[in-house]
Every structure is written in C-alpha cells, then in structure tokens.
Symmetry: C2
Subunit: 241 residues, 2 copies
C-alpha cells in the first residue's frame, strides 16, 4: 500500500487533503477514488485512508492506529564519520533494516568530518535520505539523524541503552551473540569506527563507560558494512525475522 | 597482516618470489626484510611467510596451513540481476560477510540483464571485485561469481544445499529463524529477487523445488539489502560472531 508521511497534526482530522508534495506524488502514482493509502506521522502513528476525490486528493480516514511495521527493539547506530558518501549509504540501509536513529561523531582516526558551516545542510540532506528510505521500506517511524561533537559525547549517550556494544576488529573473546543473549533486547546501541578503526585508548574509554566490546567474526568488515551487519544480527536475534 | 593471493602451485615451494603485481603492491606497502606476510591460494590454503629480501621480494615460508578466517558454514547467494551497479555492491559486501559464492540469474521482472556479448567482460570484472574484497577483508577463499541462464537453473542448483531459502516480502508465516534453526547449518542457499520482486508463480516454482520461502520481517528491503541482511543473519545464527 502506498504510504505518505504527513505532519502529526494532520492525522487527527477525519478528512485530509494531501499537501502539494504528497498530492503531486499521488498524481504520479495515478491514485483513484476508492483506493486505500496509509498516512504516517513518522513517529509511529498512522491512519488508513480511502481516496474520496483524486481531483484535489481528499482522503477519508478509515482507521487510526499504531504503526505495524516498527521493530519492538530500538537500535541506535553510532558511527564515526566515514569518508565520502558512506554515511548516506549507512543511513539509507540502516533505515530499511529498522534502526531507530543514526548518530555520527568524530573519532581520532576520522579523515573526514563536516565543518560547522556545511553541517546543517548535510544534516538536512541526511534526514531526507532517512525519510525517503522510511517511506520506501514501509516504516512508521523516520529515524532521526544526529551529529555529536566528540567520541566522549557519543559514548556517554550510547551507554544509556540497556545493551551498548562497540564493534571492534581486534576483539577476540566476546562475540556479538554473547552480548545480545545476555538479557532481553529493548534498547541497543551499536558503536563503530571509521576506515582506520578506533584507537586502542578509545576502546578502553568505551569499556570504562560500560560499553561491551564485541567482535563481528574473523573477517575485517569495512566501516560501512560493520554497523549494517550488526543491526541485521540484532533484528534477527530480537525475533524480527 | 598483509595478505597476497597467489596461484595454488606457488604455495608449495619453500621460497617464493612475489610476481610483478604483488611485488609492486609490496613495494607500495614498504615491506622490509624480517616482516611477516600471508600468502593465500584463494581456495582455503595459506602460507605464513617472512620477507628475506625486499629488493626482489623473496619470501621464506614459515608455515603452511588451512586458512583461519573462513566460516564453517558455506553460504551461496543467488540474486536476480538488479539494475545498475547493485550486483557489484552485493558481490563486495557478501565477500566481506563471508559468502562462498554469488550466483546471478534472470527472473521475470528483471529490467536489466547483461547480453551474451558483454557477459564475459562483466564476469571478469565481478570476479576482480570479489578478489579485492577477499584480500581487504582477510578471506582465505575468493568467492566465485557465476551467472546462470534461467530462474529454473538457479532453483535447481540452489535446492542442492542442505538449507535452501527464498527471501520473499509477501511471506508472513515462516521467518528466516525458523528455517535456520531447523537443522545444523552446513550449506545454505539464499535466493532473492530483483527490484520489482519475484512473481508469485516463481515463488510457487521454488516451493515445488523444495526451497523454503521466508520473510525478512515487516519492512520491505531493497533488492540489494535483502541478501546482505540474510547472510549477516546466517553467519550470526551459525555462531560466526
């Protein structure tokens, strides 16, 4: 079913007229009177609607409900700024895979870091990528993309989750499975480094902040592959598929 | 440790001189006498070597052994031809994640399919992508990239695995977990469709061939995301990390 993201307030009314951008999209899709569509507020609520008029795209609300496509487990991805457009790739894929938020931060070996000037524009772009991926994959929530100013800030925020994990290629003893099977999965933070990896002292810092250090196996994953592999595994472990 | 892929026969000798391409790479890395490197035949055997002379890149073999970075479970990825460079993306990432082979095939809704003329050139390029990803991720085996001529051929080959699975967005009852936990994971086939999905009759064909139809959850994954999510889950389920 086609889904549109609308402002939270819009969902409350019994009859809805699609705004210009959504209406244009509906016209492209040739939606006709009688067809059903889904309107989502991007925060987990949605309305099942029927098209009343395809002229001005008026919809009648049939049912208000909680979104049915969100994972019960809430996964936050903390990723050190990678080079080029890899962060965009991770935002798109992590959204499809069901992550709740993507948090980018600088770490010692980050080669690329957006300057303050370009940051707002980039954040806007990243948020749009998340919205578009959420729409395509049928999410009820648009993941929030956030930028933090330091590795320390990322650690202390990530450590607030019930399960907080740092993915580290030099870890040998603790597997992701050990960390995920230790307790019920409610909120999970997954931290990963940039192309050059995290420094040992950063991994120590994470340990001291209460974060578990885990391996993703014997092969070295690229910095954009590691968080996506891990979020897939978390969703699998949480019984999502 | 730096690793080089060499011909199988090379590994047998007690002293090895790197060939021109590998030697050039070794020079770029400024390898010096005394340093240790790993030579792999790309088929699961490797030799731990020490640089004797960095002039002509002569190596002394310290130990011959089975590669230590290969997964015990053998995963084959069967992917319907996607548009643009998505197959390249899947080859690279599936290699990192530990897949044994990537098999591409045409299905009813494939929009893009290489013609016979360009196929050999493309296969060569795809195999190179697998080799390069294998080197970077520390694999002992270079996954083979194969092209089959029909969906039927793909099905009958995929069904030979101990566990053969088709990822289908309209499946509701059977989860990947159910299929993976049914028996020990030895050889696994993961089949997935193109952008427009597989047709219902193709899914029926797969069922008849003995393939299990599984969901990857409530969200719709892009055609390049589904196999990578699934191979991550298989590796996790098999105890790789």
């Amino acid at each position: 079913m086609t889904r549109f993201f609308v402002e939270k307030e819009v969902l409350a009314s019994p009859e809805i007229i699609l705004d210009s951008e959504n209406a244009a999209h509906a016209k492209v899709l040739r939606l006709r009177a009688g067809e059903e569509v889904l309107l989502c507020d991007g925060q987990g609520r949605e309305a099942l609607c029927r098209v009343v008029s395809s002229e001005n795209m008026t919809l009648e609300v049939l049912e208000q409900r909680k979104s049915e496509t969100e994972a019960a487990v809430r996964v936050s991805i903390y990723m050190a700024f990678p080079k080029a457009d890899k962060l965009e790739h991770v935002i798109q894929k992590a959204t499809e895979l069901g992550a709740t938020e993507i948090v980018a931060f600088p770490s010692a070996r980050c080669v690329s870091k957006p300057d303050d000037k370009s940051l707002n524009k980039k954040l806007e772009r990243w948020q749009k990528i998340a919205a578009s991926a959420a729409e395509q994959s049928g999410r009820g929530v648009i993941p929030r993309v956030t930028v933090l100013g330091s590795f320390k800030a990322a650690l202390s925020r990530a450590a607030q989750a019930d399960t907080s994990i740092l993915l580290y290629e030099n870890e040998r003893a603790t597997t992701l499975k050990m960390a995920l099977e230790a307790k019920p999965l409610t909120t999970v933070s997954l931290i990963s480094g940039p192309e050059g990896g995290l420094e040992e002292r950063e991994v120590e810092q994470a340990k001291n902040a209460g974060v578990q250090i885990c391996t993703l196996g014997k092969r070295i994953l690229r910095c954009e592959t590691a968080p996506l592999c891990a979020v897939s595994a978390v969703m699998y472990a949480a019984g999502e598929f």
